[in-house]
Structure formats: C-alpha cells, structure tokens
Amino acid sequence: MIVQALVFYMFAAIAVAGGVMVISARNPVHSVLFLILVFFNAAGLFLLLGAEFLAMVLVVVYVGAVAVLFLFVVMMLDINYLKLREGFLQYLPTGALVGLVLLVELGLVLGSWVFAPEAPAQLAAPTPADLTNTEALGQIVYTQYVYLFQAAGLILLVAMVGTILLTLRARDGVRRQNISRQISRTREESVEIRKVPTRGGI
C-alpha cells in the first residue's frame, strides 16, 4: 500500500511540476514537451485508479494525436523569443488580476462544496466486479446512452463540416493528378507510331 501511495505522489508531483514548466518555459516547444509529460503522468494516475482503458485512451488521443498537432504548429512558427518577453510587465497587472479573481472563485467553490448524498455510494462500485472497465465503458456509451452518444458525435460532425466549408476555397488553375484516368489509359489512345520520312518531319 505504501508503494502505491509513493507512486501516486510521484505522478502527482511530476504532473504539477510539469504544469508549472508548461507556463514558465521560455521556449514554446519545450512548453509542449512538458505538456506531454503532464499527460503521461495523468495517464499514470488513471492506471493507479484501475482505469486502464482511460489511461491508454488518454495516451493515444492526447499524446499521440492532439499534442503532435500542437508540436507541429508550434515548431513551424517563427517566434522571436525576445519579442515574446517584451510586453511582460505591461500585461502583468491584468493577468495577475484575472488570476486572482479565478483563485478567489475557486476558493469560494471549494469552501461551500459538498458531495451529493448519493455520490459516495456510487463511488464505491465504479465498475461491476465481473467486467473489465473497457466493457463497462462500452456498455454505458454504446448500449445505455447510445442515442445521446451518437447525437454528440453528429454535433461534432456538423462542426467539422462547418469548419471545412469556411476554410475551403476553390482555386482555379490547379492541375491535379487523376489516378483513375491515368490507370484507365490504354496504349491505343496514348501512343501513336508513325513512320517519319527522312527530312520530311510530321
């Protein structure tokens, strides 16, 4: 049990330290790399809770896909690090004020917050004992709440189609490769053999 507690504190401490480094690292690429470290430690915390499916999905989705795109974009940006620090003092009061307001709000919520009476009872049995948590999640998402889940998916799909529509522009003068036309070409229509008379030309 003590090892489990130690491991928990290790993951938690690294996650928090990584989170601090994300906002304080000078180089934005380093920030993204620290963010990945935080994701990993969050996955470790999920594992400690026995939610191995969520841990793996966190790594696949956030580290394997989202953070790669982040890193992609951040690396392509041509950032002048000195310029980035320039407005620091100017924005400091505003930023500090927003941070302070958020902190006070968080404090208020935490001070007046109680568990709903039925919540602890459900906490005790997160998944039925005879199911792996992959199956338990699958039953909830794809069987019990399948229509809600599909509706959420449709909303995302509409958002995606909207984004593509807004950014798509038809450019003319672009020559594209038409693979099926290339493949369906025959020798008869593309090659013509002619006898060229000497000094005659075609």
Partner: protein, 337 residues
C-alpha cells in the same frame, strides 16, 4: 523484513530478469536483422553482401556497432542540446517498451494486461515524437523537412492501422493479446481478414518509415532526413530503434493475423515444435517481406503517399469494419464471454 523481501524485492528481481531475457535476444535480433537485410538485398541484386568479417560476414553487425560506438558524438552548435540528446533515447526506449505485452508463447508474456492492443497502439503512436524532436532540435533544414514529412506520414497511417485493429478486435472480442491468439485456434484471422492484413502490412511499412515509404530519409533530396546531424551512438540509437520497430510491427501482425504461437495445423508433426519457434518463424517471414519490398519497389511520391493513406486505405478499412460488424451481428458470431 521478510515480508518486504517477499513482497517487493523478489518480484522486482524476477521482473528485471524477465526484461533482460526479452531485451538481450531482441538486440541480437536487431543486429542480425541488419545483416539479413544486407544479405537478402545482395542476393536479390546478385551481389555477395558482407562476407569479410568473420565466417560469411557473420561478425559484420558487431563490427558496425563497434565502429559507431568508437566515433565521436557531435552536437551541432545551433542545436537545442537537451532535446537533441533526448530524441534518440526516446526512439530507442519506445521501441523496447512495447515488447512488454507481446506474448511469445502460451503464458510467456511480461505483462498480461487487459488492454494490450491499446497499449501497443499507444506506444506506436508515440514513435513520431523521437523523429519530430530530432528534426527540430538539429536546427537544420534537411532534418526539419524530413521530420515534418515523417510526422505527417505516421499520423496518417496510424488511422488505418487503428481501424484494422478494431476489425480484428471485433472478431476476437478481447483486447488482451494472449486471448486474441487463443481466439484464432479455429482459424487464423489472416483468412477472413485478408484485405485488412494487406492494408496493415503496407501501413506498417509507412509507420516504420521503410521503403517504399522512406520519404523522411529520402537521401536524394533530404541528404538523410531527420537524423542527418546525428553521429556515433546517437545515430545508432535511431538505427536500432527503427529496426526494433520493424520486428515489433511483424510481431503485432503475427499476433493479430497469423495466430501468434499457434502451429498452422494442430496435428502431430506441427504441434511437437514449441510455440516460440512458430512465433519466431512467422516474424521472420514477415521481416523477409519488409526486406523484399525494399529491394523491389521504387520510392513513393509524397502526395501519392498521402492519397493512398487517406483516400484509399481509410475508406476501405472503414467499410470493412462496418462489414465485419454487420456479418458478426447477422450470423450471431459475436464473441461472448
């Protein structure tokens, strides 16, 4: 105290021994895969290949390793030092930790976890980091271009690999790799899922940056791609990682489609041979495929590579997934516990 030794020290020692038992043969396999590659391609091109160091050139991989080991590690002055050194380490570590869940034989697995397939998918989706970090930290345009290409390529082909895996999982009804192999006792999934096997093989070539999809290191245009600034052991780690990933991908294909350690027929002469030998033979067969492809096909053009991934493999594997689910539901073959 005895409690502590029995509870923690002994299991740790056993796990460390098991890790060594997996990693050491793996590294030897990687070394001799490079030898096999040179010999196989040489045979296909009617050359001799390495034949000077040791009998039949068998000591060539050791000589190459020693050469790389003795060289000087050069860190370019414009490089981002920490990330530059971290990248090859990451590539190598990721190519090794995936082996923790691979079952070599019945019960011969380091960690028999319930989400083995997802674990493999997660680890293989991380492989791209080593390459992007290397390309960016080198602060060199060729390295960066190579890294960008590679990242786009790996992210694209992962999508179809994921869908192929889901089709197989639906048929087996488990995410555990050992149970997945057991589920193939009646028929190997390469037979019902043959088109998926082909797609997986081609995607594996793209995922490991092998020919004909070795655009990241297209030497004619990018010098050597993401690893151009690396020398000595830092380069060797990339090299080892790439070849270990090839073996890993072959291992995954063996487990998903070729029935892992199971013999082709469960009758007398076949089931005398231990499972690990079957596993090794299947992996070797697939690796030969990797080498054969390299010696045979010219490199793809970049836009055609992207087209193949997004416009051919993705729709096809999506349709196959729906088809698999439909057939399973219609015939009542849905696996139940």
């Amino acid at each position: 105290m005895a409690d502590f030794v029995d509870g923690y020290v002994l299991p740790t020692a056993i796990i460390v021994a098991q890790i060594l038992a997996i990693v050491l043969p793996l590294l030897v396999a990687v070394a001799y895969l490079t030898y096999a590659e040179r010999k196989v391609i040489a045979a296909m091109q009617m050359r001799k290949g390495p034949n000077v160091v040791g009998p039949f050139g068998l000591l060539q991989p050791l000589a190459d390793g020693l050469k790389l080991f003795m060289k000087e590690t050069v860190v370019p002055s414009g490089a981002n030092r920490a990330v530059f050194v971290l990248a090859p380490m990451l590539t190598f570590i990721l190519s090794l930790i995936a082996w923790a869940v691979i079952p070599f034989n019945e019960g011969w697995v380091l960690a028999d976890i319930n989400v083995g397939v997802l674990y493999l998918f997660a680890i293989s989706s991380l492989g791209v980091y080593g390459i992007i970090m290397a390309g960016w930290a080198s602060n060199s345009k060729y390295a960066f271009l190579g890294a960008m290409r590679s990242a786009a390529q790996m992210v694209s082909y992962e999508v179809s690999i994921g869908l192929v895996m889901i089709s197989v999982l639906l048929t087996a009804g488990t995410l555990n790799l050992s149970q997945l192999v057991e589920a193939q006792k009646t028929v190997w999934y390469v037979i019902p899922h043959l088109p998926m096997f082909v797609i997986f093989f081609i995607s594996a070539l793209a995922e490991t940056n092998r020919a004909p999809f070795d655009l990241p290191e297209a030497e004619a245009e990018l010098v050597s791609g993401y690893n151009v600034e690396y020398s000595s052991m830092t380069f060797a780690l990339f090299f080892l990682g790439e070849y270990a990933n090839m073996i890993l991908m072959s291992g995954i294909m063996t487990i998903l489609f070729l029935g892992g350690w199971l013999p082709p027929l469960d009758i007398a002469p076949f089931n005398w041979i231990p499972g690990i030998v079957w596993f090794g033979l299947k992996v070797a067969l697939l690796l030969f495929g990797f080498l054969w492809v390299r010696a045979t096909f010219p490199r793809y053009r970049y836009d055609q590579l992207m087209r193949l991934g997004w416009k051919v493999f993705l729709p096809f594997s999506l349709i196959w997934l729906v088809l698999t689910a439909g057939v399973l539901m219609a015939t009542g073959w849905v696996p139940t516990k």
